[in-house]
């Protein structure tokens, strides 16, 4: 339960989620084994999952298990390819007006809901309007804020009107479209009560069959899917409350796929299963960090923040805690992103001497008790984090020791997630905290570090900038990045923005993990992309499962 709870909780923080999406523009599929063979229909694939899904409605769900099911049952206007670029899904094509304010989408014509009803532009309008409704109870409203109006000139055309040019808009449209004819009978404020959330009807490659709570979920191939595939007849997710038990089930052959093998078990599993299974590291689209309140007397000094980056042995965390299955991160965009700045960033290699020099330079002198002080204030740091993440706990133990060696006294407090949110994070009241971000596919990070996404004059947090970072040049770049449509120019903008983040350090950036995923080699035609194994409708089972 603990693990599944963590997933459920961690997912609350997820900005955007689209697993197993994708399509034809992907890089050449690196099949498991004989890639030259022709796909065959038939067979079954069994996934393991920790944690039960919550709700099969893509605009209401926030957890990873629900997202896995929703991405197969529902289709979106666009989806991401293996390189995190948007490609058409329900949309055949799209254009944007000169001024960047009107996006026009042409929809595919041969799309039917699983109950046989024809899919039209009205479904798209219904879905987007539901998200924009004041009574909407999900977490996507911010994503759709730039949209002022959704129009449907005909059954196969959707027009989105924006209040300002907004380059990341496509990345927000990866959210599944829900059927108007089933949902319009309930008020938006009561959408959660609609029975279609429990027996979903989508347009995706797989149809919902059954969900036995706490046991398994079964999907079957949608013979009328509008795209290529699906080839595999049946998909099952089996629920496991414990990772060790799921590993045993994988070894026994009860399940064909397990993501995120715990670091301690990777060596054993690799030895036991490398003959029969494909084992691939999946780099997290996100990172773990320590947020530093920029207005705090200790952290307001850039030299101190840099000293913490130099003085934290992040390589040791990756080597010893993640057992090498991950990497040190130095800024806020993932290696997978097309706008990743990579080598141009300062790597802040572990250098405690340099860290001490920087702290001295910043005026924090070593006191008699081994704790630094300045103007009579001790360098006492309170670091908050959520309970239940063993890897983060181990990483913070190393951090705590490293910082102590620099002369900083760190108290780590573990707080239950609900309380951490209510009393500290949502009201932006803390000195420092450690958590992880899961990211979307667009490099836009306005909500994270733009000064308008911090705390407003009423003291309320309006974005994710709870550390209250403020940098004028970065503000400018983040605004520009949203309005600029040219990808290459946007990349330049975001590379410069990352350099500022890397230099100014709103966070101490820790690591991105890359726990391996394991897939049985009988599954063919798998594309491994940023989200792990992608395009499930194109997978097939060797010999059709016979």
């Amino acid at each position: 339960m603990r693990k599944s709870l963590i997933m459920a909780l961690a997912s609350v923080m997820i900005l955007a989620l689209f697993l197993g999406a994708c399509g034809p523009e992907a890089p050449a599929p690196s099949g498991n084994g004989g890639g030259a063979d022709e796909p065959v229909k038939g067979g079954q694939i069994v996934f393991g999952m920790t944690g039960d899904p919550v709700i099969f409605n893509p605009i209401l769900s926030t957890d990873v298990p629900s997202g896995n099911i929703n991405s197969r049952v529902y289709s979106a206007l666009v989806r991401a390819n293996a390189n995190m670029e948007p490609i058409g899904d329900l949309a055949e094509s799209w254009t944007v007006s000169e001024d960047g304010l009107v996006w026009t989408f042409k929809l595919k014509d041969n799309v039917y809901w699983h109950d046989g009803t024809k899919f039209t532009s009205a479904d798209v309008k219904y879905t987007y309007d539901a998200i924009r409704h004041p009574d909407y109870l999900g977490i996507r409203a911010t994503d759709f804020k730039p949209i002022t109006k959704v129009e449907t000139p005909d059954d196969l055309t959707v027009e989105l009107y924006l209040d300002a040019p907004y380059a990341p808009i496509l990345s927000k449209l990866v959210i599944g479209i829900i059927p108007k004819h089933l949902f319009e009978t309930t008020e938006i404020g009561k959408m959660k009560e609609n029975p279609a959330n429990m027996e979903p009807i989508g347009t995706g490659p797989y149809k919902f069959v059954t969900w036995e709570k706490g046991q398994y979920i079964m999907l079957e191939a949608n013979e009328n899917y509008f795209g290529e595939g699906p080839y595999i007849d049946q998909i099952i997710w089996k629920f496991y409350g414990d990772n060790q038990v799921m590993l045993a089930a994988l070894e026994k052959g009860d399940i064909d796929y397990m993501g995120a093998i715990p670091p301690d078990d990777v060596a054993r599993i690799t030895e036991a299963l490398s003959e029969t299974h494909e084992i691939r590291p999946i780099t997290q689209n996100g990172y773990t960090y320590i947020g530093l309140k920029q207005t705090d007397p200790i952290f307001k000094d850039k030299l101190v923040r840099q000293a913490l980056m130099y003085g934290t042995n992040r390589k040791q965390i990756v080597d010893d805690v993640l057992m090498g299955h991950g990497e040190v991160v130095n800024a806020n965009l993932p290696r997978l992103s097309w706008a990743y700045a990579g080598d141009e960033l300062n790597p802040y290699e572990y250098n405690p001497e340099k860290a001490k020099e920087l702290l001295d330079e910043a005026g924090w002198k070593l006191g008699a008790d081994g704790i630094r002080e300045k103007d009579g204030n001790k360098m006492d740091v309170k670091l908050l984090t959520s309970t239940g993440n063993k890897i983060l706990e181990a990483a913070l133990l190393i951090t705590q020791q490293n910082w102590k060696d620099l002369g900083i006294n760190v108290t780590v407090e573990y707080i239950e997630w609900a309380v951490l949110c209510e009393q500290y994070l949502d009201v932006a009241k803390f000195q420092s905290y450690a958590l992880a971000w899961s990211l979307g596919i667009d490099p836009d990070f306005y909500l994270f570090f733009h000064s308008d996404a911090a705390v407003n004059e009423k003291g309320q947090l309006v974005g994710f900038n709870d550390v209250e970072f403020k940098n004028d040049r970065l503000d400018e770049l983040l605004e520009l990045g949203r309005t600029e449509m040219d990808k290459d120019t946007r990349k330049e903008i975001y590379v410069e923005a990352q350099k500022i983040v890397n230099e100014e350090l709103p966070y101490v950036f820790l690591y991105a993990n890359s726990s391996p995923a394991v897939m049985h080699k009988k599954v063919q035609g798998v594309t491994w992309g940023y989200a792990g194994p992608m395009f499930p409708e194109l997978w097939w089972i060797k010999d059709g499962g016979n």
Binding site: L5, K213, G214, D242, V245
Partner: protein, 323 residues
């Protein structure tokens, strides 16, 4: 007697109301708010207010309580904040599996523990008694998740005798595989969880039985029975055991609520779709109505169980009379 039963039943009402008020107050006073978990991280205060209003969380706590009570009296426990499903539906989906597992566990505990306790008492300080005493302490001391994982590793994975987890093979049921194949399949799935819990819990009953038996066999009437020349078998089974069982039978009444209790650890390890995982998730997500419903169910059963235990005393012990 009827008078007594009626009075006891009426007394339960204020007790349960008191429990429900306490329950409701504790849930709402605890830090953490479902809205903070449901809303976007960057939702504005106005948006949160709106959400609270939609969920009816804006009213003063006593109004919320009265509204909840009003619905409960009509048999409506409300809907989950998280998935929007009726609370009772979510509970009833899982309750049968909890009852099924707990019932089997209780049967195994009593069937094994009673003879063990009797033999331990009759052969006090024998090798058997020492072995059983050691096993009892071991069962208490070793955490169940550890035993569970060890069993899964050996019997599920290495020896491959038993399925690892779940309640049955997916798609295998009476219709597809026939009655006996289904029974065998379900039994194979339930062996390990039952073993783990029974091993950890039978200690109490066995020790209880042992001391009860020890007490009884030193009684005068047992000596008298022996003196009359009755065969030892009759002395033990008819005279001693029947009396020694009295406290055990009443124990059963008190354990009634345990039948409905979820077991988070066991449910996690064996992927058992019981009520424990539902309630722990509801607690962490501050899904008040689910927690309230489960707690009230537990409280009601506890009160009823105690009542039942008192009644059982009358049935098994002619010396006790209520008026």
């Amino acid at each position: 007697m009827l008078n007594y039963i009626g009075r006891r039943l009426i007394q339960m009402i204020p007790l349960l109301i008191g429990i429900s008020i306490l329950n409701f107050a504790i849930m709402h006073l605890a830090p953490g708010d479902p809205i903070d978990l449901l809303a976007e991280r960057n939702a504005t205060a106005e948006q949160k207010e709106r959400i609270k209003e939609l969920y009816g969380l804006n009213d003063p706590i006593h109004i919320q309580y009265l509204r909840w009570m009003q619905h409960v009296l009509k048999g409506d426990f409300g809907r989950s904040f998280v998935d929007g499903q009726p609370v009772m539906k979510s509970i009833l989906e899982r309750l049968p599996y909890t009852l099924y597992l707990n019932f089997l566990i209780m049967v195994v505990i009593y069937v094994v523990a009673i003879p063990v306790g009797i033999i331990s008492a009759l052969k006090q300080y024998s090798k058997f008694d020492h072995l059983m005493t050691s096993m009892a302490f071991l069962g208490q001391a070793v955490p169940s998740f550890w035993i569970g994982l060890i069993l899964i590793y050996f019997f599920g994975l290495k020896l491959d005798w038993l399925p690892i987890s779940g309640i049955g093979t997916i798609g295998l049921n009476v219709r597809t595989a026939g009655f006996w194949a289904t029974v065998v399949d379900r039994a194979a799935h339930v062996i390990m969880p039952v073993t783990v819990v029974a091993f950890g819990s039978m200690t109490g009953v066995a020790r209880y039985m042992r001391s009860s038996m020890l007490e009884v066999i030193r009684q005068d009437y047992v000596r008298t029975a022996r003196a009359k020349g009755l065969p030892e078998k009759v002395v033990i089974l008819k005279h001693a055991m029947r009396n020694a069982l009295l406290p055990i039978v009443t124990l059963l009444g008190a354990e009634l609520p345990l039948l409905f209790g979820g077991m988070v650890v066991i449910e996690s390890i064996f992927s058992w779709p019981g009520i424990g995982l539902l309630s722990i998730r509801a607690i962490f997500q501050r899904d008040y109505l689910i927690v309230m419903a489960i707690n009230m169910m537990g409280a009601t059963l506890m009160v009823l169980g105690n009542f039942l235990a008192d009644l059982l005393y009358v049935v098994v012990d002619p010396r006790i009379k209520y008026s």
